[in-house]
Amino acid sequence: MSGALRIARRELRAYLVSPATYAVSVAFLGLTGITFFIVTDGSREASLRFWFPNLGFVLLVSVPIVTSRLIADEWRTRHLDVLLSRPISAAGLVVGKWLAAVALVLGLLAPTLVYAGFLAAWGRPDWPPTVASYVGAVLTIALFCAVGTMSSALTPTAVVAGLGSFALLVALQLVTSIDVLRPLSFQPHLDDFARGVPGLADLVYFVSGTAVALVVAGGWQRLRRRVLERGRALVAPGLALAAAVAVNLVPIPAQARWDLTAAGRFTLSEASREVLQHLGASATVTAFEPNGSPEANDAQVLLDQFTRADSRISRRIVDFSTSRGEALRLGVRDDGEVAVEVSGRREVISPLTELTLTSALQRLARGRAQQVCALAGHGERELDDTDPGGYDAARQLIEQNAISTARLDLTVADRIPPECTVLAMIDPHSPLLPREVQIIEDWMAHNGRMLVERDPNGPNLDALTTPWGLRLLPGIVFDPSRGLAGDPTSVLVNTFPTESPVAKDVSGALFVSAGGVTTAASEDTGLSVAKVAQSSESSYLHLDPSTTRYEPAKGDRGGPVVLAGAADRSMVQPGGETRVPSGGPSIARTRLLVVANAEWASNEFLGELGNRRLFANGVNWLAGEEDIVAVGGENPDLRRLTLTPSRRTLMGAVSMGGLPGVALVAGVLVWWRRRRR
């Protein structure tokens, strides 16, 4: 390798004084800027994961231009003789030229860090995957430059060298769609880095590909100079090529992969693993995605997580356009849909995410369907209301937990349908009719499960809750020490006094204008009542809305104030549920969850702190699925980029105009300085 660095330094200097370099820079930064703007404007996500796969295309076009003349021109002009008559080796020459090309293209990539700056300024990027993406880009550049250097070493004609490397790189991308050859394509490996889930296989691919290209380049130059007999000269490149192909086709254990995403997006959550543990049957997942598409690759990465976690799950990824009969049989109507089959039952889901797939598996594995029936008729909040105070987000969360939803108006219905497994009363504004109360009481008496959420000014619901040891109190909770942004009624809750499954994995929640709940002792021996969440010691339940002071004389209650309580009566009796498929005790359950607030789970506040988790836990506990369900945390993918119109304009101007413009000005300055020498 002697002389490699000296060769690299001179070559880089030559690049930097060549107007052609600046023309390539303008094109490169223009293309990357356009793709960045389009992708980021479309996704509005503070992430570069959608942009990096596009970088592969830009590099595929620009690197052959950069590398085409590296050795071909030296060969054509016979300057190669001048270089090789010095004490340097052919390998040193090849590596030196390659290093220079890599350094130049990295120099072109460096301004794209400005893109990351935009994301950091206007969003909250997940940095480890972003760094991994850049590492992947560096490895891709190293590979592309090695292929370009190799092509340039094989011919004395720069145009042929450029076209050759371009054709080879295009071929390496196109083999993505051929299953057997897919490991030889750079695209899935670059995509893995872009997702933030690089693996050993990806590293092996880039390192071996780069090495084999450089060995072939050096070997060809040795062959050309007859340093060895032809047969012997071909041995090293041949062996390197064979070894590279072999190590990339041999499967590397998929566990040798690092999920760098903050939320472990590409690692199955404990919740999903629990679901799989209780699946109790084999499952087949058939994803319909276009062959070789990024979506198909994403589906494969995700489904591989499931198949590795549970060998009873088998997966297939098929192209809708070529498998219409299969799609018809499975009830699939287009690409992007996924058929999930468990024990002869089938469901089609879309989109394919860990959440939707886990939910479907859980749903199909259940002995019976679960349904939350939301009561209506008294001004309750609606499950399909997308306004800030509505419960549309909560409905989606419920359905993600494999529980369907329905609306039930007992002012007109005379009974609670048998499909309803959980009743939800969310913030009624007027008292229930006696007939309704009676229907609900009867239903609860027969192992019913109900969620009651009521804001402080709501009607009296004592008739429904007190039989189960819970009672909603008048007044609003003030907590001066835990008020959000100085508002003592927006209470940050960090106290979950019991080991209730409802509060499992919840470290904090936000309640807004909440009331209080008392937990009363009950003579019912099978009944247990738990405080789910309570405010701090310094809080109080305030009755007089005209002041904010704590006034015990006027009936204010000192903290802590219980904000949510759960009642559970479980009895062993015939006709109940069995937990174990093979049998076990038959348990009949009645459950009531009372929350002295409805705002906390509204569209506006569900995403705050641990509200999503708390709500999902509550619904699942009521449905009796608390031992197998925990899906319902934050959406890990959600890293929003806040793009106001002015920011959008700035981002477009800098990425598509500013950076290429700087390259253009630099090129003009270089030309101006050298024109008189």
Binding site: G3, R10, H79, D81, V82, P87, R225
Partner: protein, 303 residues
């Protein structure tokens, strides 16, 4: 110093160099003469270690430049019609070659300027190579070849593109370099070879067709003998009997050295013959060249 034995270099079925033996002595300037396509450039490239031969060996004090980087570091090679990097200044280019040859960073620029000065290219130091004339390029390339003070210089047509004044400068440069360096250079110009070289080797169709010393004391290696009243056959017989006479024909003898002339004079006088002429014969390189080179058409393809 630099020795080649039985070199054979083939391009496909054709032998560009075929069984060449060559030796370069210390502080010697050896001229390689030959028609186009004779194999001169191929031979120089092999001597520089740029290509390998199918047979034979090259060694520079025991090391083959084709496999020994250290040996290549002792050689300065100037190809025919030397290519330069158009985007480099002359100083940058020569400094780069100095770096490749292992000249230390601190000495690099000094060495490059000194080399440019020796070849008369110092005023071009700041000029871009891409804007130099052919003669200027040749001088810059020459500076690149000797920037690392090599022990052996291999010059392929170094006077190509030089004007007469520059050719005189080149001759004096080679004369100066001879003190520290051994030089092989190929040329088409016989007069140039005669004026510069100590020895010439004529290459034709890849073979050594003639090897001749051109040193001042070597000019008397042929002597003309004229004796009155003696038949040519008798004279030849008498001359061949003199130690040191290798050939004799029509009164012209090839002898081993100047001292043999005295022995010839003694031999003639001892026979009672009257010696009219005993004088060195001036070397006629052109005639020898033409005689050595066969009438076969020049080889096709690259040298």
């Amino acid at each position: 110093m630099l020795r080649a034995r039985g070199l054979v270099v083939r391009y496909g079925p054709r032998a560009a160099v075929s069984g060449v033996d060559l030796e370069l002595r210390e502080h010697e300037i050896l001229g390689l003469l030959g028609p186009n396509g004779a194999g001169k450039s191929t031979l120089l490239r092999r001597l520089a270690g740029l290509i390998h031969a199918q047979a034979g060996s090259v060694d520079l004090d025991g090391a083959d430049p084709a496999v020994s980087a250290a040996a290549r570091g002792r050689i300065g090679y100037l190809p025919e019609d030397p290519p330069l990097y158009a985007e480099d200044t002359a100083l940058q280019y020569v400094s780069f070659l100095a770096a490749l040859s292992g000249v230390r960073w601190r000495r690099r620029e000094t060495a490059a300027r000194a080399a440019l000065e020796r070849t008369g290219a110092e005023p071009l130091a700041g000029r871009l190579c891409g804007r130099l004339s052919k003669g200027q390029r040749q001088r810059v390339a020459m500076a690149g070849a000797l920037v690392h003070r090599p022990d052996v210089l291999l010059l392929d047509e170094p006077s190509e593109g030089l004007d007469p004044r520059q050719m005189v400068s080149l001759r004096s440069l080679l004369d100066e370099l001879r003190k520290t360096t051994s030089i092989v250079f190929s040329t088409h110009l016989l007069a140039e070879a005669q004026s510069v070289c100590d020895r010439v080797v004529v290459i034709d169709q890849g073979r050594v067709a003639l090897e001749r010393s051109l040193r001042a004391d070597g000019a008397g290696h042929r002597v003309r003998v004229v004796v009155n009243g003696v038949k040519p056959g008798q004279l030849n017989e008498a001359l061949l009997a003199v130690p040191g006479v290798r050939r004799a024909e029509k009164g012209i003898c090839a002898v081993d050295g100047p001292a043999v002339s005295e022995a010839i004079a003694a031999a003639v006088c001892s026979r009672g013959w009257r010696l009219r002429v005993l004088a060195p014969v001036p070397d006629d390189l052109e005639a020898a060249f033409l005689a050595a080179v066969t009438s076969a058409p020049p080889l096709r393809g690259r040298e």
